[in-house]
C-alpha cells in the first residue's frame, strides 16, 4: 500500500491548470503547424498564421492561449493499492482554486445551472476517477471552453443506421457548429455503450493525442475517412472558408445493447488543452 498526501494532489492539479492553459500540447502544435503550411486558400492561410502567432504570444507574455480557460475537467487514474491521506475530491477542487487564482485564469463556473451565481474560484472541477491495478496515480487536467462544448451532440441511432449513420451524424454536427466552435476544431467521438457512457467516451477521446490513431485498424480507417469528409466541407479556419476545418479526431468505442447505436461528438477547438502528471 502506497500513501499519497492530499496536498500533493492539490499541488499537481494547480500546476497542471496553469500549464494546460498557457502551453498547447505537442500534438496540437504540430497539427497547427502542418495546417498552416498545407492550407491552399489565402484567407485561411493568413488566419492560421494569426492563430500560430497567438500561441507564440501567449507563451512569450505568459497569457492564457484563450480567454475561456474553461471548466476544469480532471481525470484521475488511481492505482487500487494507493491510499489517499485526506479528502480526495476536496484536494482536487483546492488545486483548481489555487491554479486558477495564481495563474490569473478566468473564473467561468456558476454554482447552479439556473440561478447562475459565479463561484469565483472556478470550482468545482468536473472529476472523473478510474481505478487501475497497481499503485500509480496519473492526473490529467483538460480545461474545456464552452464555445465548442455547446456545439457537442449526442444521438441514439438505430443499429440499422450502421457506420454510414454514424458518419452522417458526425458530419452533420460539424456543419451545424459551423463557425461557432472556433475552427479548426478537434473532435472526440464516442460510439457504443449507454446514454451516459457514450458521452464519457467522446470526452475521453479528446485526451488522446490526435497524431495517435485508434489501435483498431477498422476505427483508424473510420477516423481517416471522417477527417477527410469534414475537411471537404470548406468551413475553414474561423469559418471564413478553407481546407482546414478539423485538425484531428479520435474515436473511442464500447460494447453496446443489441437494440442501440449511441454516438456522441464532443466538439473542441484549436485550443484543445490537456496536461498530465504522474504522482
Amino acid at each position: 500500500m502506497r500513501t499519497i498526501q492530499a496536498a500533493a494532489l492539490t499541488d499537481a492539479v494547480a500546476k497542471l491548470c496553469i500549464q494546460a492553459n498557457t502551453r498547447l500540447p505537442e500534438d496540437i502544435v504540430a497539427a497547427l503547424d502542418a495546417a498552416r503550411h498545407g492550407e491552399p486558400w489565402p484567407l485561411a492561410q493568413e488566419t492560421l498564421g494569426l492563430l500560430w502567432e497567438n500561441m507564440e504570444l501567449a507563451e512569450e507574455k505568459n497569457l492564457p492561449v484563450c480567454q475561456d480557460t474553461g471548466m476544469a475537467c480532471v481525470f484521475v487514474e488511481l492505482g487500487q493499492d494507493v491510499h489517499i491521506e485526506g479528502n480526495f475530491e476536496d484536494a482536487i477542487h483546492q488545486g483548481v482554486r489555487q491554479g486558477y487564482g495564481e495563474g490569473f485564469l478566468r473564473k467561468s463556473i456558476v454554482g447552479d445551472p439556473l440561478r447562475r451565481v459565479n463561484t469565483e474560484d472556478n470550482t468545482p472541477a468536473a472529476i472523473t476517477l478510474r481505478l487501475m491495478p497497481g499503485d500509480g496515480c496519473r492526473i490529467t487536467v483538460a480545461p474545456k471552453g464552452f464555445g465548442s462544448e455547446n456545439m457537442s451532440r449526442l444521438g441514439m441511432l438505430k443499429p440499422a443506421d450502421g457506420v454510414e449513420g454514424v458518419k452522417q451524424f458526425v458530419v452533420e454536427t460539424v456543419k451545424l457548429a459551423g463557425s461557432n466552435p472556433c475552427p479548426p476544431i478537434v473532435l472526440g467521438i464516442g460510439i457504443g455503450g449507454s446514454f451516459d457512457k457514450v458521452a464519457y467516451l467522446a470526452k475521453h477521446a479528446l485526451l488522446r493525442p490526435i497524431d495517435q490513431p485508434n489501435a483498431d485498424p477498422f476505427y483508424a480507417a473510420l477516423e481517416r475517412e471522417l477527417l477527410e469528409e469534414i475537411n471537404a466541407l470548406g468551413i475553414g479556419p474561423q469559418g471564413f472558408g478553407g481546407k482546414t476545418t478539423c485538425l484531428g479526431l479520435s474515436i473511442e468505442t464500447a460494447p453496446t445493447h443489441v437494440a442501440g447505436l449511441p454516438v456522441a461528438v464532443n466538439v473542441s477547438c484549436h485550443v484543445t488543452r490537456r496536461a498530465t502528471a504522474e504522482l
Binding site: 494569426l50 469565483e120 466541407l233 474561423q238
Partner: protein, 187 residues
C-alpha cells in the same frame, strides 16, 4: 480590402464595408456579454439610460482573463455571439453600430444590421493573447459584480477584425466557404 476605422462610427463610415474585408479598429470599445446584455435590456425596459453612449458605439462580446499586475488586460478573445442574438437588434436600432464577436447570427440580427446600417465583425476566436495586444487601456465602468462579465471600457489600437455581416446583406460565413469550394472546381 482593409479599412481603418475609429469609434464612434457613422452609417456612412460603414457603408463601403463588405463581408470578407478586414478592419483595423481604434478608439473606444465597450465589452458586454450574456449577463450584461440582460441587464441592459432591464434598464431599457425601465426607461433608464444604458451604461455607455450607444450612438456609433462598438460592443465587444468578451470576458477577459484577469490582468496580472502591470498588464492592461489578460487574454481577451471573443465569445460566441449567437447568445446575444435576442438582445442585439434592440441595441442596433438605438444606434449601436459595431458588434464584435465570433460565430453565426440569426436572421433577426442580419435584418437589423441591414436596417440600421451596422456591421458584425469577427475577432479571432481562441486567439485571446493576440487580441489582447491591441488593448491599450481598460476601465470597468459598470456591474463589477459580474466579474469577467462586467462592462469594461477599452481603448484599442488597430484591433484586427474581419467583416462577417455587412449592410448589403453579405455574410462571410456563407460566402467564404462557398468561394473556397468553388475554387476547387474551377481549378
Amino acid at each position: 480590402m482593409q479599412y481603418r476605422l475609429t469609434t464612434p462610427v457613422t452609417r456612412e463610415d460603414l457603408a463601403p464595408l463588405k463581408a470578407g474585408d478586414t478592419v483595423l479598429l481604434s478608439g473606444t470599445v465597450y465589452t458586454a456579454r450574456d449577463a450584461a446584455h440582460k441587464r441592459m435590456m432591464e434598464l431599457l425596459d425601465a426607461g433608464k439610460p444604458l451604461p455607455f453612449p450607444v450612438e456609433g458605439s462598438a460592443v465587444y462580446y468578451v470576458g477577459p482573463t484577469p490582468e496580472r499586475p502591470g498588464q492592461v488586460i489578460g487574454s481577451a478573445g471573443p465569445t460566441t455571439s449567437g447568445r446575444m442574438d435576442p438582445y442585439s437588434p434592440r441595441l442596433l436600432d438605438l444606434g449601436q453600430r459595431i458588434m464584435i464577436g465570433k460565430g453565426k447570427r440569426n436572421q433577426a440580427v442580419k435584418d437589423a444590421v441591414v436596417r440600421s446600417g451596422a456591421v458584425y465583425l469577427a475577432a479571432l476566436g481562441g486567439a485571446g493573447a493576440l487580441m489582447a495586444a491591441s488593448v491599450k487601456k481598460l476601465e470597468v465602468i459598470c456591474w463589477e459584480d459580474l466579474g469577467c462579465e462586467a462592462v469594461r471600457k477599452l481603448e484599442v489600437e488597430d484591433f484586427p477584425l474581419t467583416v462577417i455581416l455587412d449592410v448589403h446583406g453579405g455574410d462571410l460565413y456563407e460566402s467564404g466557404p462557398a468561394a473556397y469550394l468553388a475554387s476547387l472546381h474551377a481549378g
